[in-house]
Every structure is written in C-alpha cells, then in structure tokens.
Point group: D2
Chain length 356, copies 4
C-alpha cells in the first residue's frame, strides 16, 4: 500500500492511464477556502501533453471533475475528490508487447510486485499520466499557500549538457510567477533556445533527453518542518522521488556543499530590517530539517524518457528469452518541460502538509 | 509531530543529547527473531565518537539497554524499546551561548518552531547523537535482512575534493562486509590516506569538511517498493534526509543521468542464468519506484560539520543584535566517517519496512 | 481529517449525499483477487432504500462504477476506487430549512466544525448515504475473507422493545448466509413479524424506532488483533461507531458480563478434536484484544432515526432564536434493517485489515 | 503492529510487566506547556495497587522517570518519553504454569499470535500493568485540557448487581474533581459501601467481580470529532477497548436509546443564555461523530478479573491435554476501582488528540 501520503492532509491517489479515470482525494483541507477552478485548469494545462512540438502529440484531455468536498465555490472541510477521465486510448497498442519489459520503466518491477495482474496498458498505475492528479492537488495546495504569500516557481536548470543560470539569492514573486507562464521556463533565454533545439533533435533521432529542474519557494516562514523523521527535506524528497523519472534531489548547494569547508558552507546569520537573515543560502532555506526563513531551493534530476524509438534489447517475460524491442507510439522526447508543474505541485503539497 | 516513521514497522525516536536518555521503539517486528546483541554493539561502536583522531574526543558511551520486546534472546513481537543513557555532559558549556544561533545548525529554526522551549544544550533533539538510536534500529533491521541474504555496505565516495573510486556493477558480499570493518572505508586505499590527512588538516585549521557516502544493498529481491507515493527512493530519501547534514541524495547514475540520452541511460534487460538482469545499472536497482533485482545503489552528500572553531558572524536571538561567535568544545572536523554506519542503518530500516 | 482508515489497507471515503458522487478508494489489496461484481451488487441492494414499505421510498440508485485498480476481472494491487453517482436529488427541499438544526443530527456539530461551509443538503457528508461506500468496501473485503472460509452474518436482535433470540454457541455458515437474504433477518420469525408491524406503526405516527443488531463472524482463526492499541474490539468499534446512529457496542456477553462473577464469566479452554475451544463464549471470541478461534460476536445499538415528521423544538442558527421544525420528506421510520449490511460491511473491513 | 495511536499526537506504548520497564512516548505536544509532575504522580497513585484491601497487595512502584521532551519544567515540543521501571517481580511464579492458558486472559490468543515467543510472565505485554503508561499519558493530556477548562470525572456505575445513581444533566467541575479523590468514587455513598462489601466477599470466595464505569467530560467545545471514520465515539471506544477487560462501550443513553422512539430520543436544541444547548442528552454530547457542546458521557463495562483462585479447567498448550488450573498469587478481586483513572486517562488522550 502506498497511495496515501501526508501527515496533516491525506492525499489518496488512484488510477491507471488506460482505465476509466485517474484521480485524487484530499482530506484535511480547512472549510471555506475559495478555490479558483480556472487557475487549477491553467496548472493542469501546463502539464497536459500535445501543446507543442516539444511533447507527445497525444491529447490526454486533462479536464477534471470535482466529485465532493466543494460547495458554493468553497471547500467544505470534508474530503475533496477530483477525477480526470481517461480518453484517447489506443489500448490495443499495448496488448501485443505486454510481455516485452520496456527498459528502465516500471514494467518489470511491477510485473514481479503485482504478479502479472497490474494493468500494463500505457504503464498503468506507473504512467506519468498519474501526475495529472498531483498537479490538481498541487494547484489546490498552491492557492492556499498563496493566501499566506508563499510563491513557488521553477526553471529548467539543464537539459542534457545545456545549462541555464542558477537561482540567485534574490528571488522576486513576479519573476517566479512569470516563469510559470513559459512552456520552457529558463532564466537565460539563449539556453532555452538551445534546449528546444536539442529536444527536437532528440526526437528526430528517436532518442530522448533528461534534465534538471530547479525550484524555489519564497516567503516560507521560519519554523516549518521537523527534526526526526519528517525534515522538510524528507517530505519534499519523498514526494519528488514519487514523480516518475526523478533520480536525484538536492537542497541549496546540494552535492557541491560536500566540497566546501565549514567556513565556506555555513550560512551566517545577520539582522536585516529586524529580521534574521543569512548572508548565503547554501542550505537552501532549511537547517536541522526546518525552514530558516530564507528561500527554499532545491533541484530534481530527471532521467531521459525511457520510451525511445530506437531498438533495444530486453526480455520477454513470458518466454524468458531475450528479444529486440522497438517502442512505437507517441512519446515525449524530453519529459522535463512537462515535469516543471509537477515538481511545483508536489512542492506545494509538501509545504501545505507541513504548514497546516 | 514527526518522531514516528514507517508503514509496516513503526520506529519511534525520542531524546535530547543532554537529557536523561535517547532511544527508539520498534513496533512491528515479527516474534521469535534471534538478535545478536554483540553485533548491535559492534554497529554502535562504528558510530561512537572518540575512537581515533578523526573524530571528537568526546566519549558518548553508546551502550544501549533494551527495555522491552526482547525475551530469552528473541524478539517477542511486541514493541522493542532501547534506550541509551546520556553521560559525559558538559551542559554548562551551552548555557552562556544559548542565544547565539550557530550558523547552519538547527538552533534558529528550532528556536522559532519550538518558541524557545526546546532543549538547546548540545543541539538537544537536533543533535547528531540521536543517530545512535538510528544505528541501534538499523542494526536490528540489518540482522533480519541478513537472514534473507541482503547485505548492505558503503564507502566514502569523497571527502572535500578527494575522490574514491565508485562501486562497479559487480558487488560481493564479502567486499561489502569488509568495508564495514574500517573506520574510513574506501575502495582506493590511497584516496583514504589523502582523506585522513585532509581531515586532520581541517581540524588544525579549526575548520571542517564534507563528503559523499556511496551505499549499496545487494540481494534485494525484485518487487520491493511502490509506485505512488512510497517509491523505495522516497522511503530511502525520507530517512536519509533525516540524518543531520545530508543535503543531497541520488540513485544509480543520479544527477549524471540527466546528461545521458535515453539510449545511453536505459538499463536493458537480459536473461542471465535464468534470471532477469540489466546490462547497466544507471537506475541504481530501482525502476518505477520498485526494485528490479539489481544492486540498490545511492549516494548521500553531507555538508561540512557546521560546528567550527573559527569566528563566525551570527545573531543573538535575545538582543536581536549581530555578534561574533567562536564555538568552543570538541567537535568532529568531518562527520562523514561516523555517518557511514548511520547511512547503512537507515537503509536497513527502509528496506525492512518495505520488505515486511 | 478523518476520511482514511486502516493499518494494512487504507480505505479513503469521500462524498456528500447531494454532490456529484460518493465513493471510496481501497489501497493495499493484493493483486490477482477475482471479484464477483454481481455479489457486490447484491450487497449494495441489501442497503439500498426503496425496496419495501419498511424503508424510505427514495430510489438512491446505488450502482457503483469502478474507476481503477480492477483489470480483467481481478484486482491489480493498485488502489481500487469506486464511485456511486448521486441522483434523485431534491436539493431544493433543503435550502429553506438549512438554518434549522435538526435535533440529534450532525447539522449543528457540523455547522460549528465546518464553520457553516459544509454541504448541508441531505446531511451532506454526514448522510447515511455514505454507508453505500462502506457496503461496497465491505463486499470487496468479504469476498477475500470468504476465500479463507470466514463467514459474516447478523440478525436484528431487537427493534424497540421487541426482542429476537440471541446467537447461540453453535453457528453454521449456511444459517448465517441465509440470514443475509432476508430484508429483516431474525432468528425468531414471530419476532420479525412484530418488528415489521412496529415499524409500520411508527411510520404512521410520524415517529421512528431504534434497535440492536447482533453480528457474528465465524472461522476467524485465533491470533488476529493486537494488545495495545489496536485490539480487534478497538478496530471493530472504531468502524462501528462511524456508522451514523450507533450509540453502543458490546462484545460477547457485553454489558451483562459486568454482572457475572469471574467463575461464571471465564471461558474455560478445552481440547475438542485436537483444537483449543472454549466451553462458553462470554468474551465474544476475543481475549486480550486478539481472537481465540471462537466465533466473534458483538452487538451494535442504533438510535431511532432522528428525522421524524413530528414537530420538534430547535434553534435557527442564523437568527439565534428557538423555532419549531417539521421535517418533511421521505425518511426511514427505522434504519436498523438497512443498517444490517453496513454492520457486516465494516466487520469485513476490520477483519480484512487485521488479517492482511 | 499496534503500539502507536493518534492522529495529531502519537502515543507509542511499550513494555512487559516483568521486563526492565514499561513506558510511553508522546509525540506532538506543543512546546512550552508547564507540567506539574506532582499531579501526574497523584494520577499514577490512583491506579497503583496495594493501597487498600480492595486491590492486590502487590506494590508495583509506579514511579515514572521522564527521559526526554521535558526541560526546565516545560514540554520542549519534541517527543516526551517516560518510563516506569518494573520491580517486585516474582517471575519464577510464572515459569511452572506458563503452558497452562489462563481462561479469558490474553495467554492463548497471544501464544498463537506471537508463536510462543511473547513474554508470558505476568501477562507480559497484555498485563494490566501497562495501563500505568496510559495513566501517565492521560495525566499529561489532562493538564493540557484543564488549561482549556475541560474537566474529566467518573464514578463506578455498578459493581456486579449493585448500582450507583447515574450522572444527571447538570455536572459541576467541583463535583467531578471531588470524585477523583475517592478510591471508590460513587454518587450514592450507600451503593459504595455495598460495593466495598461485595468486593471483599468476592476475595474471600476466591472469585472476582466486574462492573461499569461512567465517565463525563465537561466544557468540551462543540465541533470536536469527525464524521467518517474518526467520530469522537470511534476515537474514545478505540482506546477504551484497548484497556484490558472492557467488553462494552456506550454513549449517552447507549443501548437504552435503541428502545426509545425518535420523539423521545432526540435531543432538541434551545438557546440558553446565548448558547445552543439541548434539553436532554441522550446522545452523550456527540451527534454525527462530533461534540455538540453538551457533556460527553459514556460508560465502559468491565468483565470480572479473569485471575481467580478457584480451580478452573483449561488446556496445557504443550501437551495438548485438558488440565485443572489453580491460579496462585495476588490478584485484584475487582479491577474496576483501579480502572477508573485508566478510563479517565484514555478519555483525556482521545480528547487531546482530537482537539489539537
């Protein structure tokens, strides 16, 4: 069992990509919170495929329907359940190759875990499509956090070897919000152009690319999180590593902080306009597992989409023989741009759960 | 609240470094498991300070006492509680500087969160000393995993800029066990010597160093973990980020996988002696959140010990003024060697919780 | 937050009686369990209203749709979500009286808790209609328990002052199953006839009746449950007291055992055909919180339906004035017959969660 | 696993009656709460045995030691762990009879569940002694509730067939507090005298008696509890049924409400001095699972102590043969008087968890 997450709010996810619907139930929201459904739609649209030539031409139709917990434009305080019906399903595509375990997908581990009974069509419960439910839950969480002035934004730090600039010490609400409007948010436009070209080239080569997303949450008050076992880093990484394709998470200076000396790495405190601030932010806004009032900053590394058109060796789980697999169909040459709103969504979920 | 972790086993931690005792309760162990207390002692000794000139000369006296759940040499099936009494306390050291927030420690976030009521002596509940309880719980978990042939081992991948070799595809039980006997486990002895010198130099400079620990678990069967939300990466990272000082976690090729193409990154399946194996292990033994039968491999990045002798700027939380802080006392110039058994301990805890 | 229950299986409930749908997600079912949907329908029909003159003429249309977790006739092992769409809604009925707190309903406590934002139509999330989701979850649980030969059955022990016989020591599978086919299951047919007349009379008097349901689960193996805090009695009572209208729960001899001497009350062990049995069952099959292999027997007391046609005093929550309330509409004069499958459903849920 | 309870506060219990210690960890208390340790001692003394001729002459020495989470007289906000060391152990008494399953004890179910590895001495983890930890946790919870003016009190409603009066609609803080000072709290002193005589007589007859405890919590604000699944009745009954010996729980009019008509049972609302009140309290202060501002009232039925001196039939679990068991040693002829503070303790725990 694993489909329920949260201490103060319970998020219960369900669904398979080619079943009737996917969805999520959010239990523990305070009553009377006005939700702007149009803003939720906007977030969903950021993740939805088929928008441009950087993503799969599939049209997943990510329109949600709220089944409960929402009345007269406001949360009721009882569980809020939203479903997203599945459509545009070419389920037949999957039948003939169901025994060929796609490399680096959940197919084989899932086959073992579920003893062959899981819905294999389109990845089933492992499908990236389930992140649509996360985006819904994140969009709800975000609206509540925004009422406390907490703003979350992110940019694509790298695609393959192409690097964007990093977030600096100074982060502005407007700048973070502006990033959210771009299908390929970057700080350095020229890096963005190069990324775009690289993704198109990968598609042409029937290959795929990975990348790194850098995310920030500002105006998070000091004192959020726990020492053991639920450090804010634990909560955030827990959800980030639930996103298909994430293989690394780091906070602040992250892996690079291991190369600094204490005298370089320590974020020294100073009073600024009556507030405690730090003169550097190598800890990414979190010390001892708890926010210190500085921007929360972290990066998540995504592997290249495992679905590629190139021929690959694999095994046939029924025959127990090696075979060659050529994945047909419409796949994202790079999942990173569509993963940006997902990273922000789980960030909002983790922050809300800890702030409640 | 945060002191309880686990789905199938509940680990409840408690304690402050200068209170009466620290400890942990483990609920959910099967009855009748024989535990070798000497082996637990050996694990505790690996973490204990004061062993050599690489660590603090404090003698924390990590001897544990089992209060419950253990009878006639075996687990009873009811909650197993162990305590480690505190001793060798120089509590007075902390009184005078309690209002000076040590940079990059939990002091300030904790002060805000706990409204000044937390036990500030020696970091209190934030103290690295609490990891002794994790090592106890890990040592228990490990003995149970060993009965299923699962072996966990690790080495110091880097200290500052000094790099050890990486784990390769072939990992042997004996090799992993051998690493556990060294106070500074490395694959390349010369790298180890350089690390040792660097740590001693950092101590002399009243500074500190960080590093990276690479950990492997072998013989983990395929099918362990979950898709949403409790991927094995989620479980492991959740606990790893609970260890004081960890700022980054990556699995398999980790951040580097974001620079690979799909055709390079994908771990292709092949049959080897009737078993499904992969020809590379860029996913670190986990796909779709679930083990695939290959070695589970990950790295955790530790920041340099924030307690350094050098003068640092900080704020006095009582006066609201900037001050200069000089931390006296006995501190580890590099926590990484003592963190090795802690990383292995939480790995054992996460694996056991998922395998139960 | 409260909509999620279970240790080994997570049941997440959602919905309001006059919203789009109600439903439940079941996470933690093993993969590959064949489910007979027709049997689930049969259970749902037992609870559904409008079947006979003993219940409300509303037709709630309790047909369920499985959205996820079920593929090719079997559970997948991933969360199984089912929804029951709402229909036959006379929502307008509720608008005008929404400020009049119905006595002994959840209206007033809910109004305070949810600050007036809860969906008040038809009781909203407090509605007995939500028990349809419990019956779905129970029907799934029951099919799994039946594979282990565990059979659950119950009868109406009393309606008002009319008493049925009690379950004896000897309980047969066939007898329990037969009870499930009756809309008013009793051991003594003449008592049933009297109950039926009493209910019809109460309807004519615009009043309502309560009653007691006695439930048994047989073939439950010894060793199920826990000492602290999750005794099987704790699990069962936790769910039973979630059913709207339950005000008392007792196991075995229950309240009467408090009047026995130890020498009368103790269930003495004896060997019967190589099995440990007890010669009496005053503990209702549970000692020390754990099953002893004897039939699990308990009773749940239901209050009379609080919705009655008679004029009642109450307060208007908007004006703060006392008023007279006359509840119109179609209500059950006695909820007990329709509550029988609900009691059995939560029994199945609690047993399955503990047996997993 | 079952030793952890609570949604907002986690109570983790551990211990066996003849092990080193029993104890409890409370995680989730707010920081800065001043605790009066003397008051906790007073509560512990109410439960402790050996005070008078109504209870066992064993002196269990229920003095507690706080290991963590308490600093300078106040809670720190981190887990508060308290242990009670065991002493006065005649462990040898239990060795010879360990294979004779005491009727109506947890011996046999525990033997099956724990496969014979549980600590059988004195009931081990099943021992009533573990309720000392509950009383500690309850005493802490109670002090916090008292700051919100919530007062909990109870009396012995019956011992065997001897009945005390019932709590009426009017409950005063002083009266409830006064009850707590009596070793055998009753509303009708003559009933108390008769109970005392009956208990002494049962002891002389080597038999035991059961009884019913009625408990009230006043000044509990409206709006506490949940609809599904965590009604306040669910929370309270969950913990009450964890107390060894409880076989029935009822709220308000309880089982008797099943015999009322709706027009008799409904608690009609009326305004009293600007507050919403009910003119009767048949629901025991809880409707729809949530408090309505009236006194929370419930009763718990205790079975007679199963340890009696009279000869009883039972089985020898090793030989598989029927035998005669004569329980020696010092046992309570009636556990009810010592159970009063335990009932109040779990009431305080459940209320605090729901109010947090």
């Amino acid at each position: 069992m694993s489909g329920v997450w949260g201490k103060n709010i319970k998020f219960s996810i369900f669904g398979e990509s080619h079943g009737k619907a996917i969805g999520i139930t959010i239990d523990g929201l305070k009553p009377g919170i006005g939700l702007d459904l149009q803003k939720i739609n906007t977030e969903m649209a950021r993740r939805a495929p088929g928008k441009n030539r950087l993503s799969t031409p599939r049209d997943e139709g990510d329109s949600f329907q709220i089944l409960s917990g929402f009345f007269n434009g406001r949360t009721t305080g009882t569980p809020l359940c939203a479903v997203i019906y599945n459509s545009d399903q070419h389920s037949g595509d999957y039948e003939k190759s169901k025994n060929l375990m796609r490399p680096s997908h959940g197919d084989f581990p899932g086959h073992v875990k579920y003893k062959g009974f899981n819905d294999y069509r389109g990845g089933g419960h492992f499908s990236g499509r389930l992140t649509a439910s996360l985006v819904f839950a994140g969009a709800v969480s975000r609206q509540i956090l925004e009422q406390q002035c907490i703003v979350i934004g992110s940019h694509i730090k790298s695609i393959n070897y192409i690097e964007d600039k990093s977030f600096g010490m100074e982060l502005e609400e407007d700048g973070l919000r502006e990033l959210g409007k771009s299908p390929l948010p970057v700080l350095d436009r020229s890096a963005g152009n190069a990324m775009e070209k690289a993704i198109i080239k990968a598609r042409e080569e029937m290959d795929s690319l990975g990348g790194i997303i850098e995310c920030a949450a500002i105006n998070v008050p000091a004192g959020i999180g726990e020492p053991f076992f639920d450090s804010l880093e634990s909560s955030l990484s827990h959800l980030l590593f639930s996103i298909p394709g994430v293989k690394g998470v780091e906070f602040g200076a992250g892996f690079d902080i291991s190369k600094m000396k204490g005298s370089e790495a320590n974020d020294c405190y100073c009073m600024v306009n009556g507030n405690v601030r730090t003169s550097s932010n190598n800890n990414g806004g979190i010390s001892g597992g708890i926010t210190n009032g500085m921007p929360v900053i972290f990066r998540a590394a995504f592997k290249p989409t495992p679905s590629i058109g190139k021929a690959q060796r694999t095994v046939n789980i029924e025959t127990g023989k090696d075979e060659i697999l050529e994945i047909k169909g419409r796949h994202d040459p790079c999942i990173v741009p569509r993963a940006v709103p997902v990273v922000e969504a789980v960030t909002a979920m983790a922050l809300l759960d800890n702030i409640m």
